[in-house]
């Protein structure tokens, strides 16, 4: 076997065969290898869910840090982490899983500030940012910063406090990580109340599945609220203790790993087909094989599609 025939066309291959690395035989081997990989991870997930699991690298501490970093970089004062807002954010996330919606307003009309007021957080201004299907905290905050309306929320000088929740559950029948960020400015003076305490870990798994209702609304930037509510002094938590929260115990983040395997394999296949096509075109070889450029187009489709589904959504 000529070494050249591994990568590019060689006359010894004849007119009907591609280089060995992308020959029909090689494609069969690739397929069998991938099938074996798929069967292995399926069995591992069933037999040892503690090894392979749905996981993300999003945690409240880094979300909080990234949020304040973005604010300080833009010359805006940082916000402090508030436990009432965090509880409201967690309840909102759980509500989204329970009633299966991806929106600022629930199917029954419950608004973000209903959750905030439900925690007796009496606010002057409040706002909400949502994110789903991201794998890192930085990715979430960067996506919010890239969207003008979310950026406005994130860098709003009127907000003094923030609450954050990262919750895993099932949305539209698929494992999803929801991030809820609720901003607020309490009516009372903030200086009077500080209560550094243990920070609650707002992660949970919700498995409720209900009606599939979808509604998309614009993010709430601010909301004046004049109704009377039972006033309760908000608890402000200073982030002076390290928080390390991950929402899983899985050893390997299966979502990231499988996407990487697919991506790298597709890129390898793309490179091999491109080398062959360029060589054939440059040397004007006559060949009776399928259209190389069409295969390249198809592999490119797979790569771009994987990149699209890797990126999460914001609201």
């Amino acid at each position: 076997m000529h070494l050249q025939s591994l990568l590019v066309h060689h006359h010894s291959l004849g007119l009907k065969k591609r280089p060995h690395l992308i020959s029909s035989r090689a494609l069969v081997h690739y397929f069998l290898f991938l099938l074996l990989f798929f069967i292995s991870i399926t069995i591992t997930k069933i037999k040892a869910p503690e090894v392979l699991g749905f996981a993300t690298h999003i945690d409240i501490a880094s979300l909080f840090t990234e949020t304040n970093k973005a604010r300080l970089d833009s010359g805006v004062e940082g916000v402090s982490l508030n436990s009432l807002l965090s509880v409201a954010a967690e309840k909102k996330a759980k509500d989204m899983f329970k009633y299966n919606y991806w929106s600022h307003t629930s199917p029954s009309g419950v608004q973000p500030w209903d959750f905030i007021l439900g925690e007796n957080y009496d606010y002057i201004y409040a706002g909400e940012n949502l994110a789903r299907d991201f794998s890192t905290s930085k990715g979430v905050v960067d996506a919010w910063l890239d969207s003008p309306s979310h950026r406005e929320n994130l860098l709003n000088t009127r907000y003094a406090e923030v609450g954050l929740a990262v919750v895993n559950g099932e949305l539209d029948g698929a494992e999803t990580t929801l991030v809820v960020q609720m901003f607020g400015t309490p009516r009372q003076s903030l200086s009077a109340i500080t209560e550094p305490a243990s920070i609650s870990v707002l992660t949970a798994s919700v498995e409720n599945k209900v009606d599939n209702t979808k509604e998309v609304t614009e993010p709430v930037i601010e909301k004046d609220f004049e109704q009377g509510v039972t006033k309760r002094e908000p608890t402000i938590m200073q982030l002076d203790i390290p928080i390390s929260v991950t929402d899983t115990t899985a050893v390997i983040n299966i979502s990231d790993s499988t996407q990487n395997v697919v991506l790298y394999f597709a890129i390898l296949l793309l490179v091999l087909f491109m080398i062959d096509s360029i060589y054939v075109f440059a040397n004007r070889h006559e060949k009776h094989t399928g259209h190389g450029e069409v295969h390249i187009l198809y592999i490119l489709f797979i790569i771009i599609a994987v990149l699209i589904i890797r990126s999460g959504g914001i609201l």
């Binding site: 009907k16 591609r18 539209d172 589904i309």
Partner: protein, 86 residues
């Protein structure tokens, strides 16, 4: 006429992939819909490859096999990508 047919056939494939990508990007965060879009692209690719070469009158089994194998690789890659979510 034949060349026109081939060019149209290629444009049709490009249009299908572009629309699928646009749907993935703009329309849905729903994993089930994404899975269906992925799988339909692979199935469409196999059908397109076989149909296109029949039209070109190049019904060589090596060529057909190439499209089928690449399509099947696409299907298994899709299953691997979406497996963690279900």
């Amino acid at each position: 006429m034949m060349i026109k047919k081939i060019i149209f056939s290629h444009y049709f494939l490009i249009l299908f992939f572009s629309l699928s990508l646009a749907s993935l990007y703009f329309l849905s965060l729903n994993r089930t819909i994404q899975l269906v879009l992925f799988l339909s692209a692979s199935v469409f690719y196999i059908i397109w490859g076989i149909g296109h070469h029949r039209n070109e009158d190049r019904k060589d089994k090596h060529i057909m096999l190439e499209y089928i194998l690449l399509g099947l690789i696409g299907v298994i890659l899709t299953l691997i990508i979406f497996f963690p979510f279900f």
